[in-house]
Chain length 258, copies 2
């Protein structure tokens, strides 16, 4: 059964033990270590350019739209007037690109911890990083949880486009810079910065692989928000081919199927 | 980027170039060549027992229910009285297991080309092969297309639970025994053996990887059936993590969204 995958990138993580996804590499375009994480971009044979953070696939040119569109338009299209929005994470620019398409969005705030991710995507994956071209974006650099703690702004929509909380780089449970975005405190901080009727949408992991994390976050959210729901989309290069979103709304009139 | 996946099974196929799925192997339980194909069953570390035909993952104990339940109950629950049903393929027994749960099903016909797949699953994956324990099943051995050509029976439901039409074993487009189940003639043969209001449901591949095959089959079907639709489910060990179903109905009252 053994196979030498020379010339391929293989993704493994303690978050999905015993399974791995591999993509064939045409050319490595960038490999650097930022203050926060390992950043790699390669040209694949069949999925276009691929962004890796700490050894985990964040986006490929071929399938990123499925993720970016869903995490953006699930909350935006559930709100009658999403004028003021915040994106935490999303350093590739894809969510910002989608946001700009919504006719009611007027002010976009963006907080990304790692400026070098933004720079790397601007250089190598302009089809996503074009999202930063929008002059209406107010950009902040730093930890998203700290930003929410300190800002005096309030938002109609908060989107948390985070990487996984655990690194795939070593065979131990190393925390990633996104670790602060997967706990109860963070969901509480978001609530404090939502306008009346506000909605948040957070990267919510895979229902086959992380059902315990999803259940825990949803139970926590139900104590704080009148409407809590889980949605998903199919992204073939994500582990298990599926990724979910945790959606919470302060508008209790929104349809709540639970 | 190179990685030696020793102790893992890695699935590659010309049907999904440039990407691969790997599962960690605990123990190989069976490896034999039947008259039709290469059959392998192994115990994985995280997905239970895994059935491979010609090097392609057919089912794992952990996630097979998502596939078996969907291919079975999409058509059965769309029919008011699915008394007489046919399963083509499905040598693992999982669809037969699900069929037996429907209270209106009275007669089950089953046609599988490779008796050695059935025998292998009976020995090593009884949680699926228990489907064969049902005394109401009328079993036939042979090519499904030939069976449909020759039988005088007509059915309320025909389910085609086929493997892929192309082998993953070598780096060329070798046909599998399921090759006869992915062409226009086969869909015509099924129509001839449906009762009035009958429904068929066929393994319909992955929308990210095989959109051309899916489009072609659906266009062909629309010439023959008043209602044609595509459904899907998420199965993490299938390529791209998603697999579809082509559904055709002779009952034009069934909701047709196209």
């Amino acid at each position: 059964m053994d196979r030498n995958l020379n010339g391929w990138f293989t993704e493994m993580s303690p978050m999905w033990p015993g399974q791995a996804t591999s993509l064939k590499v045409k050319e490595i375009l960038l490999h650097k270590k930022s203050k926060f994480q390992d950043i790699k971009i390669f040209e694949s044979t069949d999925y276009g350019r691929v962004l890796l953070l700490d050894g985990i696939i964040q986006a490929t040119e071929r399938d990123e739209a499925a993720y970016q569109e869903m995490i953006t338009f699930l909350p935006l299209n559930s709100h009658p007037n999403p004028e003021k929005v915040l994106v935490v994470g999303g350093g590739d620019g894809g969510v910002l690109r989608e946001m700009a398409k919504h006719p009611k969005v007027k002010e976009i705030y963006h907080c990304e911890i790692d400026e070098e991710v933004i720079a790397a995507c601007k250089e190598f994956i302009p089809s996503m990083a074009c999202g930063f071209d929008n002059p209406n974006i107010k950009s902040f650099t730093g930890d998203g949880a700290a930003f929410l703690e300190n800002t005096e702004e309030k938002f109609d929509i908060i989107i948390t486009d985070a990487s996984d909380p655990v690194s795939g780089r070593r065979r131990c449970r190393n925390r990633t810079p996104a670790n602060t975005l997967f706990n109860d405190e963070y969901y509480g901080k978001m609530k404090a910065k939502l306008r009346p009727g506000g909605i948040l949408c957070c990267q919510g992991e895979n229902m086959w692989l992380h059902s315990e994390l999803i259940s825990h976050l949803m139970e926590t959210c139900r104590k704080e928000y009148p409407v809590v729901d889980y949605a998903y989309t199919c992204v073939p290069t994500y582990p298990g081919g599926q990724i979910g979103f945790i959606l919470c709304s302060l508008n209790k009139e929104l349809n709540n199927i639970y």
